[in-house]
Amino acid sequence: MRTKLQNWMLLLSSAALLALPSASSAQLSTFDIETRIGMESHVGNVNGHAKDAKGDYRRYCVGCHGDLGDGNGENAVWMPPPMYQQPRDFQLGVFKCRSTPTGTLPTDQDLFDSITRGFDRSNMPPWNTFTKQERADLVAWVKHFSPRWLNEKPGTPITIPPEPEVTPERIKAGRDVFAKVQCWKCHGVQGMANGPSASTLTDDLGRPIAAFNFTDGSRPKCGDTDQDIYRIFMTGLDGTPMPSFADNIKPDEAWDLVFYLRTFMHQKSKEKEMAKTLGLKPVDPNAPVGQQ
C-alpha cells in the first residue's frame, strides 16, 4: 500500500520525465552570454544598449523567455504546443518574422516590430507600452543571447514593390499562383488550414505546429497589412515549416497572391467582395499541374 506522499512523488517524477525531452537544451552559460553585454541595436535614429534592458527583461520577459534567453522560463511548461507556442529560444538566433531572406538574421527593425506587435495566438502580447528607447534596448538584449550576431550580419531586406490597385483579374491571377506553388498542401484550398499535410507539421525542434487558418479571424503572426503578408511568404518563417517562396513567385505575382489570400480572410475587404462577384471556386487539388 503506497502512502499519499509516495503517490505524489511518483506523479511528480513522471511529470518531470515527460517534461525533459520537451525542454530545449540551453547550450550557453551565463558567462558566455555576459561577454556580449555590449551589444547594441539601431532602430531608426534610436540606439539601443543591451545593458539598459536588463531591468525590463527581468521584470517582464524572464518568466517565459528565461534567464538564459533559451525560452525555458518558468511559465514555458504551461504553453504546450500546438495549442500554444513555446517562447522563442533566443540563443539559436532563428526568427520567424524577418524582412530578410530565409537563413539570415533579421534586422533590428524586424525584432523591434515583433516586440511592438506581439504574436497573435500566442502568449506574447504587444509590448507597445514600452517607449521606443526601451524597445530598442530590448532588441539589443535579445541579440546578446546568440553568438550569431558576432559572426554574421543581418540579411538584406527583400524589396517590396508599391502595392498595385486590386482588380478582379489580379485576384484570379492570385488564385493561379496559389494553385501553382501549392499553398493548399498545408493551408487547404479554402485557407482553412486543413490541407493534406496540415496534420503532420512540426517546427524545427520537432514540436507540432498548425498551419495558418485564414478564415477564423486570426491575424498572421508577422503582421496583417498587405505588405506583411507579402513579406511572410517571400521570406518564409524560419524555424517553422513555412518556406520562402522568393525563388518561385515573381514580385507582381506576389501581389496577386496577397489579394487572393485576402478573399479567404474573415475581415471585410474589397478583395472578398470582388471574389464574390467573380464567383471564384476553390482550386482543385486533383487538377494536373498548370490546369486549374
Partner: protein, 243 residues
C-alpha cells in the same frame, strides 16, 4: 601515492608528443594520389524497412505504383553490403577539399535521391526537383553550428545552390511530405559514400596514417586506422550491427 598522480600527466605528455610527431611527420599534400578502399557490411539479416504511406499526395502514390516506397534507414544489398554509409578521415589536418563537380540532391518520386549526400565545408551543391508536386526543402542544422533555411520548390522550380560552412551531420526534411528524410553529411577532407554493394573508395589521399570513420544514420560510427603509402592504397572494412 605521488607516483600515481603523475601517471595521467605523463600519459597526456606522451600522447601530446605522439600527436605532434604524427602531425609534423605526415606531410599532407592537397594533390595526394593515394586512396582508401573497403566494404561496409551489415551483420545479420537486414531489419524490416516499413513501407511508406504516401496517401497524403496522390502524385507520390502514383509515382510508386509499381515500386512501393520503404524507409531507407538501412539499405542493404544481397551480399549484406550496406549502402549510404559515409566514410571520411576524421583526423584530417589539411584544408577542406572542394571538388569541381557540383553534387546534386534531387527530390524524385517524393523521396530524396541520394538519401545521404556527403560534402566538404564550403562545397557547393544543388537541390533540384524532378517531381510534379510541391516540396519544401528544409535542412535542420544545429543553429549554433550552421545556418538553416527553408525554401519551396513547386513543380518546375529552378535548382537551389547552397553550401554548408561547418562540419556537421544535418538532417533534411520536407514538411509537405513528412516521410521525406535525408542527410547532408558535412565532413572535412576526402570522403566517400558506399554504393549498393557497400563498397567505397576515398580518392585523393596523401600518404600518411589516418583514422577512417564510417557513419551510418542509425547504427552510428566506427573507426579504423589506415596507413596509405605514396600513390598506394589502404584498406578498411567495417561491419555494422543494426540497432
Amino acid at each position: 601515492m605521488r607516483n600515481r598522480h603523475n601517471y595521467p600527466g605523463l600519459l597526456s605528455a606522451l600522447v601530446l608528443i605522439c600527436c605532434a610527431a604524427l602531425i609534423l611527420g605526415q606531410k599532407v599534400n592537397a594533390a595526394g594520389n593515394g586512396k582508401i578502399t573497403g566494404t561496409v557490411k551489415l551483420d545479420g539479416p537486414a531489419p524490416h524497412m516499413r513501407g511508406i504511406d504516401m496517401s497524403k499526395d496522390p502524385y507520390c502514390v502514383k509515382a510508386h505504383a509499381s515500386d512501393p516506397a520503404h524507409l531507407e534507414t538501412y539499405v542493404a544489398g544481397a551480399n549484406g553490403g550496406l549502402e549510404n554509409v559515409v566514410l571520411y578521415i576524421s583526423d584530417w589536418s589539411g584544408s577542406a577539399l572542394v571538388s569541381t563537380a557540383v553534387p546534386v540532391f534531387d527530390q524524385k518520386n517524393c523521396v530524396y535521391s541520394p538519401h545521404v549526400l556527403a560534402l566538404d565545408p564550403g562545397e557547393t551543391f544543388k537541390v533540384t526537383t524532378s517531381d510534379q508536386t510541391a516540396h519544401n526543402i528544409h535542412p535542420l542544422p544545429n543553429p549554433m553550428v550552421n545556418v538553416g533555411w527553408n525554401q519551396s520548390q513547386p513543380p518546375g522550380a529552378p535548382p537551389i545552390e547552397k553550401s554548408w560552412k561547418n562540419p556537421e551531420i544535418i538532417p533534411v526534411q520536407c514538411n509537405i511530405h513528412p516521410w521525406m528524410h535525408g542527410w547532408f553529411v558535412v565532413v572535412k577532407g576526402p570522403y566517400a559514400t558506399t554504393d549498393s554493394n557497400g563498397s567505397y573508395t576515398i580518392d585523393n589521399v596523401p600518404p600518411g596514417s589516418y583514422t577512417v570513420t564510417a557513419w551510418q544514420e542509425a547504427a552510428g560510427t566506427q573507426t579504423a586506422k589506415v596507413t596509405v603509402a605514396a600513390g598506394g592504397s589502404g584498406t578498411a572494412d567495417f561491419t555494422f550491427k543494426a540497432k
